[in-house]
Symmetry: D2
Subunit: 214 residues, 4 copies
């Protein structure tokens, strides 16, 4: 299982969480990555943890003020990027172009979508992986793998119908090792986490518990 | 004069440009700041040069994936931010909220606008400074201070009618020391630069020539 | 007082509401306009009631699919348009351009804003009128004129400081004649209504009661 | 062949073009629809021609100012709608929701996309039809069917791989009967037209010539 920890816009010490996640990953065989805001990519990458961007621009170099380009994210140490998170929805054309920009910058991609049908849509654009996150469950504390296991199963089927090799992650409400192992049973090859770890009283304990289920 | 060098999404070595700009600033009395993409804020700030963000989010901490918050920019070393650049236009409500977010993060603000009337509008929201940049002249090689000096004069008047203490910068097409000194004669207290330095064959020579006009 | 009834995206019979509003307006001296969705502009205008668009594009004729241009709204019978409603926020540049497009199409403008400071900003762009609507009170049932009378007073002052001739409307939570007369006492020259009439059990009674306060 | 005439934001008499298109359609067996701006839907529908919206909102009834809902478009006489035109790009989630809103309002859908891969993506969301329009050729006068016939063939294949019953239209640069018949040979079941007819010196002659190729 791939555990991708999205730090969103939380008030947190991104570098400290990166260091902790790196130690947890080192102590186990589980792949863990941390996705901070763009300005913290360098600080997180310097901890040694696998570092992801939360978003990159759909365009390449040029006169674009206030964009975060894939290449600049990679220069700062990112090796992957989320795209089309439900908190940062993109046009279809920009998802397509964003995947291509990521590829040119050697960034792995996880493209998010809300439903199994939309997972089929984004799988058609050849991302490295897809992630299904029902918006209603994000931050709810109710894991998608329990609240609606069919969403995960159907997402795996929808992606597989397009390309059987594309891994499916799931997210929304994941906070325990049991949630992670249930996701794996449903066919997911990874989970997207956010507040379950970043906002936990003891983030290391929370992440370690999750890893036990991976 | 305040010289604010916007690196946009250019293919360039942000840290090297930051170091160069720092040396030029140290060798003169002119205030120079460099605004890289968010992921390079830390690398630029470590050169010692005054470092600005190109944009920050209009919201504070929370579940916002793919945003760049003011506080995170400040943590990375930024001390100011552009807002509402014509390549990153914001709703009026977000300009207002962005200025407040910047203030909470101790970031200075330069709010851009296209015309003297719009400069009056943004001046009303109490930014630290405003910048007039006619979109048609951006990247044109024709400096606004020559192409249409009335835009600069009228912008200074428009800002002054709202708040006589708010400095006005101007941008678009600035590339020589003469452009800078002309801008100063028209009442501007700074200039926004971009390709004139970042895309110059010899950026140090280009910046030094500009500083001579400041 | 000017009573501007915004039908938003409500499930309602726009033409029937237009006819009713026309009859109420005819029976009194109060100016009443109805703002339906673009596709209903013609049907509402044919009732004889003053008809407004809820929004127009910031650009003129050209290759723009899915936009509603000012001229086409005017052809359908509109004589005015809202701009920058908090449910349709525009960039500052588009507010400016939208006002100009409206002027070219002979449409009167009411430009909305959330706060007194933002009212000052939009007043600077020379609209025909401005409207302050605190988003938190929209649809709340609590009229802005009671919940926070200072917002109305301060908006009147903010607009007046820019241009003493620009009328200020207020909106959010207005549903009774008392709300309207209180708004007038605070300096407003009109009110924006929506659910208070459109979603009322008896819209004619609701509008008539409002008009009594005008 | 289905000929769908998108009037975009052109300066034109939508009702007169609707009447003309209706007469041409009546005189032949070819299906022709006209897509005006929302405010002209009623005027066009009253000519008897098949009438389409250029866009509808992704949401249903509610507090949405400045949106055009599917139901209101249908009430005005529309029987179909374009979605995701390259001049009105939508998020993937909104394409999905827009298709559902159209279905609830009994509007047929043609969902546009720029490339064969994106056609595969949108076909996965079960629209009534898809349309491939390479942005670079829109308004170019060079028909996609000649400039890059593989785009049309690949789009037909991409849609067919998802659902063999979903018709594919093509657009961009179509202006002669030969362009239309070539599109049909490549597997397209319709064409999107715009300036080729709407901006023609003699729109009736232009449309008649196109119909001869259908």
């Amino acid at each position: 299982m791939f555990i991708l920890l999205n730090l969103k816009g939380y008030a947190c010490d991104a570098a400290a969480l990166g260091e902790m996640a790196h130690e947890v990953a080192e102590a186990t065989d589980v792949r863990i990555a941390v996705a901070p805001q763009a300005a913290q990519l360098g600080a997180v990458a310097r901890t040694g943890v696998e570092t992801w961007a939360q978003h990159i621009a759909a365009h390449g170099h040029g006169s674009h003020t206030g964009s975060q380009l894939g290449e600049a994210a990679a220069t700062a140490g990112a090796t992957g990027t989320l795209l089309n998170h439900s908190e940062r929805r993109l046009s279809l054309a920009d998802i397509d172009a964003g995947i291509q920009q990521a590829r040119e910058a050697d960034l792995e991609t996880v493209v998010c979508a809300n439903t199994p049908a939309q997972i089929g849509s984004v799988a058609r654009l050849a991302p490295d992986a897809v992630a299904v996150e029902p918006p209603a469950l994000i931050g709810s504390g109710t894991p998608v793998s329990k609240a609606d296991p069919d969403i995960v199963r159907d997402a795996v089927d929808a992606a597989g119908a397009i390309d059987s090799s594309v891994p499916v992650l799931c997210g929304a409400g994941i906070s325990t090792g049991e949630d992670v192992s249930l996701a794996a049973e449903l066919g997911a090859e990874g989970v997207l986490l956010a507040s379950g770890v970043a906002a936990a009283a003891d983030p290391r304990a929370a992440l370690s518990a999750l890893v036990d289920g991976a």
